[in-house]
Point group: C2
C-alpha cells in the first residue's frame, strides 16, 4: 500500500494518474533547505502579525461577533478576497507543521482555525467582505472571489487535516462546500461560475480527502459551465472597465480553448483544477486539451525565467511571442500556479517535460519573488529594470516590499516552499522517479533512497539506495533539457543509459548500498531567443544549470542600458560565498557604449552600433542568479544582454 506524503495533490487510487506522489520526501540540506529554513523561521512565523496588521483577522473576528440585523463594523482591506490570505497562510503553516513539530506555530494555527470557524455563518457561508455588508452573497460573481476564497479554504483544510489529523478546518470547509453545492447548479439559485478560478482544485482535493463524490461533481460543473459567457456583464461594484470574457476564461470552455489567454493566474489556476479533474475522472479529451494549452503557453508565452503574463494591463497573457522584458508582469503567483499545473500534469502523464518547466519556474520566476530575508517580496518579476523607472503606487513595483495591499503572493510563496519536497519525487509501476535534485531522502513503493548534491551550483547528484523492492526495478532520474553533456555511473561503473523523453532510467535488481551518480556538465550557456520574440531580438541571456542570470547595477556600476556582451572570450564562473547568501557568479567581457552618442532624434538612418563602436569602453560584466536580484536596493537590472552586432 502506497501512503503519499503529507502534501498537496493526492490522486485517488482509481485515478488516471500515471505517477503517485512519493510517501516520503525530505530535503535535508543545500539550496532549497536554506530557503525553506528562512520560510520556516521568518516568513511563516511572522504571517499572523502581517495578517493582523492588514486587518484580515479583524474581519474574521467582526464576522464572528456581528449579530444578524445589526450594523457590522467596517471591512478592513481593499479587496473582497482578503480572507484568502489567511487560508493560504494556514495551508503553508500546516505543511510546515507536517515537516517539523513547532508548538508555537501549532498554537497560531489553532487560533486562526478557531477564528475562521467562528466566522462561518449558520448556513455554511463564509466570506467576511459580504458578511460585513459588502453586498448580498453570490451577487458579484465576476469580482467577488467568493468561490476563489472557498477553494483556498478547502485546500487549507485538506492541508490542516493531512498535517495534524484534525477535522476542525475540514469540517468548516465541508460545510461551506455543502452550502455551495446547495446554491450552485442548473436550476438552482445560481447557475454560474466565479470570476477567479480556484474552487475547482479545492473541491477535487476535498473529494480526495473526504471521498464525497458531490465535490468532484461540483468541480466538474464549474469547469464545464465556464466559457459560455456567463460572466460577460463584467461590471460589478467598483469596476468601471469591462475586461472582456477572455480575462476570466469565459470566452470558451477549457476543452475547446486553443490558447491560454486573459489574466494569467486565473488561467493557470483553472488549468490546475482541470488537471485535477482529468486525473480523477480519466477524461482523455480534457487531458489532451490541457496538454495542448500547456504547450501553447510554454512555447509562445513563457519567459526564460518560467514567468508568465506579459501585460500589466489586466495582468494578462499577451499574444504569442509578446514577451517584453521590461514590462513583463510575470506575477509571483503565476509562477506558483504554473508549478501547480505542471506538477499535476507530471503526475497525470509521467512526462518529464512538465517537471523540466517546474525546475525553471522554481529556481527563477518563482524564487525571484521571495526576498533573501524571507520578509520582503516581489509581486511582478520583470526581466529588465531600467534605472529610475516610473512606477505608480498601484504598480506592485519591482521593488521588494514587506506586504502588499493585494497580498496574494507572500502566503502563496510560503505554501509552495512549505510543501516543496512534494514536487521532487514520485513513483510509477516501474519504480522511483526523481524530478528535482536536493540533498535528502525519498521513499516510494519499496524504494528508499538518499540523495546528496550541491545542486544547482555543482552538477553531481549521488543517489544511494537504502531499501529496494525485490526484483528488477527502475530508478528514473530526470535529465534537464538544458543539459547536453552528462555522465551516469551505476555502482562505480559507467552507465550507458540514454535519456528517454527526458528520463534517464536505470533498471536492475537494486540492493541496499547501490549508488547511482549523475554528473551534469554545467557550462555557462549563451541562450538566444526564438526569432519571433521581438522584444529581445539581438540579445543573449546567460544561464548555468537551471539558473537564469542577470546583470545588476550593484555589480556593474554605471549605465546598464549601454552594455553589449562580447562574443569572446567565453564567460567564466566565480564562486562568491560572500555574496547574496552564497552564489556562483558569471564573469563576462563586454563593452559599454558612450551614452550620448546620438542626438535628440533617436532613429538615425545609418546603423547606430557602427557609429558607436569606436567610442565604447571595455568592461568586465558580473552576472548573478536572477532569483537573487533586487536584494541590494533599486538599481537597474537586465537578463537579456545585447550581443555583438
Amino acid at each position: 500500500m502506497h501512503t503519499p506524503l503529507t502534501g498537496p495533490v493526492h490522486p485517488g487510487v482509481d485515478s488516471a494518474a500515471v505517477h503517485r506522489p512519493a510517501s516520503v520526501a525530505i530535503i535535508r540540506d543545500g539550496f532549497w533547505a536554506t530557503r525553506r529554513r528562512i520560510n520556516a523561521d521568518v516568513s511563516i512565523p511572522e504571517g499572523p502579525q502581517r495578517l493582523e496588521e492588514a486587518g484580515n483577522l479583524a474581519n474574521l473576528r467582526a464576522a464572528a461577533t456581528t449579530a444578524a440585523g445589526t450594523t457590522p463594523p467596517a471591512f478592513s482591506g481593499d479587496f473582497q478576497f482578503q480572507d484568502s490570505d489567511v487560508y493560504k497562510w494556514l495551508e503553508a503553516a500546516s505543511w510546515q507543521l507536517a515537516d517539523a513539530p513547532d508548538p508555537g506555530l501549532a498554537d497560531d494555527v489553532a487560533r486562526l482555525v478557531r477564528l475562521v470557524a467562528d466566522a462561518q455563518m449558520e448556513n455554511g457561508y463564509l466570506q467576511t467582505y459580504y458578511q460585513l455588508g459588502g453586498a448580498e452573497p453570490w451577487t458579484e460573481l465576476g469580482w467577488g472571489h467568493e468561490l476563489y476564497c472557498a477553494g483556498h479554504l478547502m485546500q487549507a483544510a485538506v492541508a490542516h487535516h493531512r498535517a495534524t489529523g484534525s477535522r476542525d478546518l475540514l469540517d468548516v470547509a465541508g460545510r461551506f462546500a455543502d452550502h455551495i453545492e446547495s446554491v450552485f447548479g442548473p436550476g438552482k439559485q445560481v447557475d454560474g461560475v466565479c470570476g477567479h478560478p480556484e474552487v475547482e482544485t479545492g473541491l477535487v482535493e476535498l473529494y480526495r480527502t473526504t471521498g464525497d463524490k458531490r465535490y468532484l461533481e461540483l468541480a466538474r460543473y464549474f469547469l464545464e459551465r465556464r466559457g459560455q459567457g456567463v460572466l460577460a456583464s463584467g461590471a460589478d461594484r467598483g469596476h468601471d472597465r469591462d475586461p472582456g470574457p477572455e480575462y476570466w476564461q469565459d470566452h470558451a470552455p477549457v476543452r475547446e480553448a486553443r490558447e491560454v489567454t486573459g489574466h494569467a493566474v486565473r488561467q493557470l489556476y483553472l488549468l490546475a483544477g482541470a488537471a485535477d479533474l482529468a486525473t480523477e475522472t480519466g477524461d482523455v479529451p480534457l487531458r489532451q486539451a490541457l496538454e495542448r494549452l500547456w504547450t501553447d503557453a510554454v512555447s509562445t508565452k513563457t519567459y526564460l525565467t518560467g514567468g508568465m503574463g506579459s501585460r500589466h494591463d489586466w495582468e494578462a497573457f499577451g499574444d504569442a511571442y509578446e514577451l517584453p522584458a521590461d514590462r513583463a508582469y510575470t506575477e509571483t503567483c503565476a509562477a506558483i500556479a504554473l508549478v501547480h499545473f505542471s506538477w499535476r500534469m507530471a503526475l497525470l502523464t509521467g512526462e518529464a517535460r512538465y517537471s523540466d518547466l517546474v525546475e525553471r519556474a522554481l529556481y527563477n520566476g518563482f524564487l525571484g519573488g521571495v526576498g533573501l530575508d524571507g520578509r520582503t517580496w516581489l509581486y511582478v518579476n520583470p526581466l529588465q529594470r531600467r534605472a529610475r523607472p516610473h512606477e505608480r503606487p498601484g504598480d506592485q513595483a519591482s521593488r521588494r516590499t514587506p506586504w502588499f495591499r493585494c497580498a496574494c503572493c507572500p502566503p502563496n510563496a510560503m505554501r509552495l516552499l512549505a510543501g516543496l519536497p512534494h514536487y521532487f519525487a514520485s513513483a510509477d509501476d516501474s519504480g522511483l522517479h526523481l524530478h528535482q535534485y536536493a540533498t535528502g531522502e525519498y521513499v516510494a513503493d519499496g524504494f528508499a533512497v538518499r540523495v546528496a548534491t550541491a545542486y544547482p551550483w555543482h552538477g553531481t547528484v549521488t543517489v544511494t539506495v537504502d531499501e529496494a523492492p525485490a526484483g528488477e526495478r527502475t530508478l528514473s532520474l530526470r535529465l534537464p533539457s538544458w543539459c547536453t553533456q552528462f555522465r551516469l555511473t551505476v555502482k562505480e561503473t559507467p552507465g550507458h543509459e540514454q535519456p528517454e523523453h527526458g528520463w534517464l532510467r536505470v533498471t536492475r535488481a537494486f540492493r541496499a548500498g547501490d549508488t547511482v551518480r549523475l554528473e551534469l556538465h554545467l557550462p555557462v550557456r549563451l541562450t538566444h531567443p526564438h526569432p519571433y520574440v521581438d522584444a529581445v531580438r539581438g540579445c543573449v541571456a546567460l544561464e548555468r544549470g537551471p539558473l537564469v542570470y542577470c546583470l545588476e547595477e550593484a555589480d556593474n556600476p554605471g549605465d546598464l542600458d549601454g552594455v553589449v556582451l562580447d562574443s569572446s572570450p567565453v564567460p567564466t564562473v566565480r564562486e562568491r560565498p560572500d555574496l547574496l547568501g552564497g552564489v556562483t557568479t558569471i564573469v563576462a567581457s563586454g563593452r559599454r557604449l558612450t551614452p550620448d552618442g546620438i542626438g535628440w532624434w533617436p532613429y538615425p538612418t545609418e546603423p547606430a552600433p557602427a557609429r558607436q563602436a569606436d567610442r565604447s569602453q571595455p568592461v568586465e560584466l558580473t552576472a548573478v542568479p536572477y532569483y537573487a536580484w533586487a536584494n541590494r536596493g533599486d538599481g537597474a537590472m537586465r537578463v537579456w544582454i545585447p550581443g555583438p552586432s
Copy 2:
C-alpha cells in the same frame, strides 16, 4: 498690421512669440487637400449624427429642460466628459466654415450652439453629467473633467467667433469662465486643479480673443497650483485604482519637472497650455522648462511615427527608451496634442525642430488614426500588430471603428484637419517661413506666395512670389531633418544657401514672379533605432521623405513574424495610384523563416538565426505608408523589420 488667419493659437501682439501665424494659408491641392476634403465632406457632416446616437446631444437637451428640484433624466454615455465631444466638433466645424461657406453645416453649428447655450446654468456652470445628477459640481476634480470640458468649450467658442464673428458661443464660454474664476483660487470655494489639463490653453485663447486678463491669470493659477499633490487622493467615483500623482502631472510643477510622465495626453495638453502661457507672459524659466521637457519627450519617449505613450496601463509614457512596437498605446489624441504643443513652441522660439516633429506626427502617428474613408478611426496606433491579437472590448482595439465609447479622438482629428493650414506658415521680422509643404497660398507681412508640390510623393517644392514687401527680406524654407541631399534654385539659378538650424533662408529683394525651387532628394531610408531602444533592437524601418512605412499582411500574405529584410539590393519604389487612395510603395527583398524551426521551448542555446538560415525562403516585400494601414481588414502589420543577422 498683421491679421492672423482664422485658426487656433493667436499670440498677442505683446507676446514673447518670435513668430506670428500667417494671415492667409490655403491648401489647394495634393496630399492634405484630399484628406481635408474627406474631413469636410464626410467626417464633419456626419458628426452631429454620431453625437446624437451616442447621447451627447440628448444630455444637453436634458440639462436645458430639467427644472431645479426635479429628477433629471439619466445621463447618456460612460464618461463625465461626453460634452467635450460636442465642443471639439463645434471647433472643427467652425474652422471648416472659415475655410469654405456651407449653409447646411452653418445650420448644424447654430443648432448645436443653441443646445449648448440652453444647457448652461444660471450661474454659468455647464457640464451635463453633473447637471443630470452625477454628483455635486467641483467635488470630483480628479476624474470629473469639468475644467477639461470648459477648456474645450472655450477653444470651440474662440473658433466659432473667429470663423463666424458670432459671440453666441463666446458669451457662453465667458460666463462659464467667469463662474470658474469665482469658484477657483486661493481662499475661494475650491483651491485645486482638474485631473485632465486643457482649461489652461482654453483660458489663454479666451484671453487672446476677449482681452480679459483675468483669464490669463486664471490659467497661470491652474498651471502653478498643479504639481503639489492636490489630486493625490485619486479615488473618485467609479475608480478603484489610484494612479499616483504622476498620472495627472501632479507630482511636480511643470517648471520643475525633469521628464514627461504619466497619462500622455494629459501631459501634452498641459505643456501646450504652459506654452501658451509662456508665450503671453514672456516667462523665460517656464519656456526653458518646456524646451527641456520637449527634448526629453522627443529624444527618449517618442516612436518613429511621432506617437507618444508607451503603455496601455494608464495610457502613459513609459521609462526612457521603453518603446515597444506591439503594445505602443500612442493614442491618436496624443499625436494631436504633440502637434499643438510643438506648434506653440515653434511660434514661441522660431526653431525649425518643432515643425520637424509636427511633420512626422502629422504624416504618421496622427494620420494613421484617421481611416481613409473619413468615418472609421483608430484610438491606439501601434507599430506592430501580430496576426490574431488578443484584444478585449475596452482595449480601443487596433481596428478601425466608426465611433468609440470614449470618443475623444474622432472630433479631435476633425478639428486638427479643419485647422491644418494654420500650422504650415508663419512670419517673423525677417519674412515668411514655410514649415510644411502643400500646394496652396500663404500670406504674411507683405509676402504672398504660391506653393506647388506633389509632396510627400515627390520632393520638388516650387514657391512663386506674388507679392513681396519692399527691400531685402527673407523667405525661409524648412529643410526636414531626414533630408541629407537637396537642391535649391532661386530664380532658375542654383542657390548655395546652407541650412541654419533647419531653415534654408533665401534673403534678397523679392519681386513678384520670383521663384524659389527646393528639390528634396527622397531615397528609401533604412532607419535604425537608438541602441537603447530595447524593443526593436536588430530591426530597421523603411522611410521615405516624411513617411514611415510598414509591412501589411494584405500585401505580404503569410506569416509576418518570420520576415527578415535582406541587406541588399537597395529597396525600390513603385507608384501605385490604384492602392489605398494612391500611394508610393517600397519594394524590398527579404526572407521568410520556416515557422516551425524551433521546438516547444523558445530559448535555444545555439543561435536561432543560424539554425534557420538554410530553411528560409526568399520573398519580395511590399511596404505601404504607415498612415494607410488597417484599411483592409485586421491583418498583421509591422513597421520595424528584423534586419539580417
